[in-house]
Amino acid sequence: MKNILIVDDSIIMRNWIKKILSNNNYDCIEAKNGLDGLNKIEQNNIDFVFLDLLMPEYDGFYLLEKLKEQKSEVPVVILSADIQISSKQKCEKLGIKEFINKPPSKEKLLMVLEKYMKKDD
């Protein structure tokens, strides 16, 4: 099964996403901020990351910068309550392919997983 990392300081949001993904045969790992997310990526075989931006201590941009330094190829999709057009543009400049406003629909979550996750050979 594929390992999906959910990085969000909101336990409500993590539980909500985890429930959808678990019901669709994905294994979920949780992290509470950018540094926790980075540690989880290093400790586990992560296939995909859903990343919140605004988190205490180490935010989503911290994790994005670290992944860029490491030349990581793990697909990352942003999930954020921030609806500003300017925030989406900022993420696009960092190479993020999808910026989804919270809460994402079940269909949207599964669609981006299908679209961006690497397929097994």
């Binding site: 409500i12 205490p56 309550a81 921030d82 609806i83 300017s86």
Partner: protein
């Protein structure tokens, strides 16, 4: 420093757009039909409001739950969602179908309220910044409890102008009232007024 009628109406419209979006988002997240209404919006200087509010004796007794976020950018201040504690517990238990949520602080209650506040504040401030072609940077949403005056004083430090939107959540035949409070520094409020003029 007062807003003109047109500026006030424009700001109210932006808030209503944000609230409408928040209601839709909360409906999706909580799988519950929620109606959000803003029956009244007032804008005034903070000192005047604190003086008016000092006559409200219930504020001395009733503890409040609050979710607040600071914002910075072309205009700066903070935005918050406030409920009397008992109303906050009732809102969470209604939305989550959890009959035993008490008004004591616990992870489910604070987590749910924080997320509701996060979504509502982002929706409102995002609507304002998008239409006014601005960008705001936010702090992480913070949950706190305390007396009304104490919470208000925490959020109004260094700020001068207060916007209060009375907010009614309606879900499953329950109506729960709270307040959205947005505070601006004096300088920011001037910039906001200019930005509103550009869209009127």
């Amino acid at each position: 420093m007062d807003l003109s009628f047109e500026q006030t109406e424009a700001l109210k419209e932006l808030i209503n757009i944000g609230v409408g979006r928040a209601a839709s988002t909360l409906n999706e997240m909580l799988n519950t039909h929620i109606t959000l209404k803003i029956p009244r919006i007032s804008i005034q200087k903070i000192e005047e409001y604190i003086k008016e509010r000092s006559y409200n004796k219930e504020d001395e007794i009733e503890p409040y739950s609050s979710v607040q976020m600071k914002f910075e950018g072309p205009f700066a201040g903070s935005a918050g969602l406030l409920f009397p504690n008992k109303s906050a517990a009732k809102l969470v238990s209604t939305l989550l179908n959890e009959a035993d949520i008490t008004d004591q602080m616990d992870e489910l209650k604070t987590g749910t309220l924080s997320e509701i506040g996060n979504i509502l504040i982002n929706s409102i401030m995002g609507a304002i910044s998008n239409i006014l072609d601005s960008h705001l940077d936010y702090s992480v949403a913070e949950y706190s409890e305390g007396k009304y005056k104490q919470i208000l004083q925490q959020s109004t430090e260094n700020s001068s102008i207060l916007l209060i939107a009375e907010t009614q959540f309606e879900a499953k035949k329950m109506r729960i009232s709270g307040e959205i409070i947005i505070v601006f520094t004096l300088k920011s409020f001037g910039i906001l007024k200019q930005a509103l003029d550009n869209i009127i």
